[in-house]
């Protein structure tokens, strides 16, 4: 039974830097668990602790039920794919793949058989006698996976294996990696900073920030029900729009004010989030995903509409991304901007506009005729509003 269990695992460096704090996670046999978070969040450190390449300061790591804290990587029987593949440059592809088997003194015929088999699964049969230097990035990555395939390890670990590939290749390899993992059928811990990879590949996704686990759920759950502001802003691209609002103190219906605008909170939300009632008269964070904003010109018969000025239109063919500004206070959870995106950009689009406006993004059907600079009407799908406590960042639910 190949499982990975992390129980309050902590890593503190000699300079007192706490990279991982009380991380508890269970990966079931055969499950593809993705560890995702911005750089520096501790995901690689956690992975290396499971591999045995990093000492564990506190807590327990179990692989296949065995406590492995004091075991060397060899004794843990894990397979690992490194970010830069770490292929042995002086060995051929076949020798690279078969190295671990040779170390175990498996008989030559058996090694050959397994290497051939792995080669075929990975489409590398013709390259088994070649040295890694002459391989492309994608091929090298497959060789790195081959090392795991031949072994039948107790756990499979991957440290950002796709981040060195170009975008197109990455999309292709995502499917490859998933396929290979399924074939391996072993508990897998996959580390990445790319939330798209996390969402498309993981059975479950664990979001880490500053060494602390934020939420661990299947991708759709994370998307639909983020547990806190960080997860809400990190997962999903383009990111969720989050604004500061104030709940109306009293009145029959529940409503929240974002700047000058008023949004009525439907009963479905009140049922799903009983705790919302306690926020009357208080400030809170309100979030809405870009696809849950309808953009139009007419004033529909809807109490919760928000006028917005269009800053930028990005046509993606199948949809249009509308960057707009509304009169409200914006919230950008620290560290939630995905890797590679300019942290300051969203704030500079439309800069120079008077203060007290906040940017936002909506996804619309390309048939809607829109022009930059015009004022339009946003209609939020209030069933999909998200609410968060401003102090703790936690989602307001029950």
């Amino acid at each position: 039974m190949a499982t990975i269990e992390l129980d309050h695992v902590t890593k503190v460096y000699p300079n007192k830097n706490q990279a991982v704090s009380e991380l508890s996670l269970d990966v079931a046999d055969g499950e593809f668990m993705v560890l995702v978070g911005p750089s520096g969040c501790g995901k690689t450190t956690a992975l290396r602790m499971v591999a045995g390449l990093e000492e564990i300061s506190g807590g327990t790591v179990r692989i296949g039920g065995r406590v492995v804290n004091d075991l060397t990587p060899k004794e843990r029987d894990v397979a690992m794919v490194f970010q830069n593949y770490a292929l042995y440059p002086h060995m051929t592809v076949g020798e690279n793949i078969g190295f671990s088997l040779k170390l175990r003194h498996l008989d030559k015929a058996e090694i050959n058989r397994r290497v051939q088999e792995a080669g075929q699964t990975l489409g590398l049969e013709s390259m088994l006698n070649v040295k890694p230097a002459s391989l492309s990035g994608g091929q090298r990555q497959r060789v790195a996976m081959g090392r795991a395939l031949v072994r039948e390890p107790a756990a499979f670990l991957m440290d950002e294996p796709l981040s060195n590939l170009d975008a197109k290749l990455r999309v292709q390899m995502r499917a490859e990696v998933s396929r290979i993992q399924r074939r391996l059928g072993v508990a897998t811990l996959y580390v990445t900073h790319d939330q798209t990879e996390a969402m498309t590949m993981g059975d479950r996704v664990a979001v880490l920030a500053h060494g602390v686990l934020q939420q661990c759920e299947p991708p759709q759950t994370l998307y639909d029900h983020p547990a806190n502001l960080f997860v809400a802003a990190f997962i999903g691209s383009p990111a969720m729009n989050i604004y500061q609002g104030e709940m109306e103190a009293d009145g029959g219906e529940m409503a929240v004010r974002l700047g000058d605008h008023r949004i009525v909170i439907p009963p479905s939300q009140q049922e799903a989030r009983p705790a919302l009632g306690g926020y009357r008269g208080r400030q809170l964070a309100v979030g809405i995903r870009p696809e849950h904003l309808a953009v139009g010109h007419e004033l529909p018969d809807n109490p919760s509409i928000i006028p917005a000025e269009i800053d930028l239109l990005e046509s993606l063919g199948a949809e249009v991304i509308v960057h707009f500004r509304i009169k409200a206070d914006h919230i950008r959870p620290e560290g939630a901007v995905p890797e590679g995106e300019d942290q300051t950009m969203p704030l500079t689009i439309g800069a120079g506009v008077s203060d007290k406006t906040a940017p936002g993004v909506a996804r619309v059907d390309p048939r809607v005729q829109l022009k930059v600079g015009e004022t339009v009407t946003l209609v939020p799908d209030t069933d999909h509003l998200q609410f968060f406590d401003l102090e703790t960042g936690a989602a307001i639910s029950s």
């Binding site: 000492e55 564990i56 075991l71």
Partner: protein, 315 residues
């Protein structure tokens, strides 16, 4: 105060080292580490630490092997006192220091010039570099005998050349006069060692980024100015390395002296190392020789330390 902080204070090039691969089984790795350095450390202790200790011991005793049967009793500082009285040690010290200063100064200047020459990319640079490496690579014996031949009045080139050019001195027996002997020794020493200095300084020159010079030129610096204010300071680490090596080697020079002059004429080219050898293997006076050895070690260490201290890179 660990060596690491001392090294940092002196700004020695990373003695501390990169972080080792972290991991579980740290204790086993540490034990393995000690086991792996042990052979090197033990072997080096055998050839350096043990002799030092033995020398120290002997230096306080009366150990003259040719005087078989004489008791090897404790004599306190008598051997050390002897260093300064009748035995030619002070003269040898003066001579050795003199040779050291002259040779290091001349050789460093020549080495720098050679390094600058090699720094220019020109056709045949590889050939030049290989050509100057050979004098360094061949044994000192070769250099000594080669120049003994060259300076020989009968079969050497030097006198022949002087004769052809009708310059004075074409009949000199170089190794028979004090100053001419030193000149010959200096030539042999420089011929072998200037390439070494040049290689070290060349590496230092190559580390200096080119835009430093361009910026200086834009600022209006002349060639000499940019050399003095940019090249030399940036060459400090390399100069330090070259100086430490050469100064110590010059101070401890033995092979060339033994082979070319045998300390002669008379005792005029006896260096400290030569004296040391004489004490050990001719006089078999291991007590006195021990005293000389200990002095050599102490002075060497002090000099090396002084050079490193003075030349330490100031960032």
């Amino acid at each position: 105060m660990g060596t690491r902080s001392v090294a940092r204070r002196l700004r020695l090039p990373s003695i501390g080292g990169p972080p080792p691969i972290a991991g579980v089984a740290r204790k086993a790795d540490r034990r393995l580490g000690y086991a792996l350095v042990a052979p090197a450390v033990l072997l080096l202790l055998l050839v350096t630490g043990f002799p030092l200790a033995y020398n120290l011991w002997n230096s306080f005793h009366n150990v003259i092997l040719s005087n078989a049967g004489a008791p090897q009793n404790f004599v306190g500082l008598k051997n050390y006192a002897e260093l300064f009285t009748t035995t030619g040690f002070p003269q040898a010290l003066a001579r050795t220091l003199g040779f050291m200063v002259v040779s290091v100064v001349l050789e460093t200047i020549a080495g720098l010039a050679l390094a600058l020459m090699l720094h220019r990319a020109f056709r045949g640079r590889g050939l030049l570099r290989a050509a100057i490496l050979i004098p360094w690579a061949v044994p000192t014996v070769v250099s000594a005998l080669l120049w003994t031949t060259m300076f020989d009045p009968r079969s050497g080139f030097v006198d022949y050349l002087l004769g052809i050019l009708h310059l004075p001195g074409s009949q000199t027996t170089w190794l028979a006069g004090e100053w001419t002997a030193w000149a010959a020794v200096l030539v042999a020493d420089a011929w072998k060692n200037v390439p070494f200095i040049a290689i070290i300084l060349l590496a230092g020159l190559q580390l200096i980024p080119g835009d430093v010079y361009e910026a200086a030129r834009i600022d209006g610096a002349s060639t000499w100015q940019s050399f003095r204010r940019m090249t030399l300071p940036l060459l400090r680490p390399a100069l330090m390395v070259a100086l430490v090596f050469r100064t110590l080697q010059a101070f401890l020079v033995f092979d060339i002296i033994y082979i070319m002059t045998g300390g002669g004429p008379g005792t005029t080219t006896e260096t400290l190392s030569y004296l040391n050898w004489q004490a050990f293997l001719v006089d078999t006076n291991f007590g006195f020789g021990g005293a000389i050895s200990v002095s050599l070690v102490v002075i060497s260490l002090l000099m090396a330390g002084a050079i490193v201290f003075v030349m330490r890179p100031r960032t």
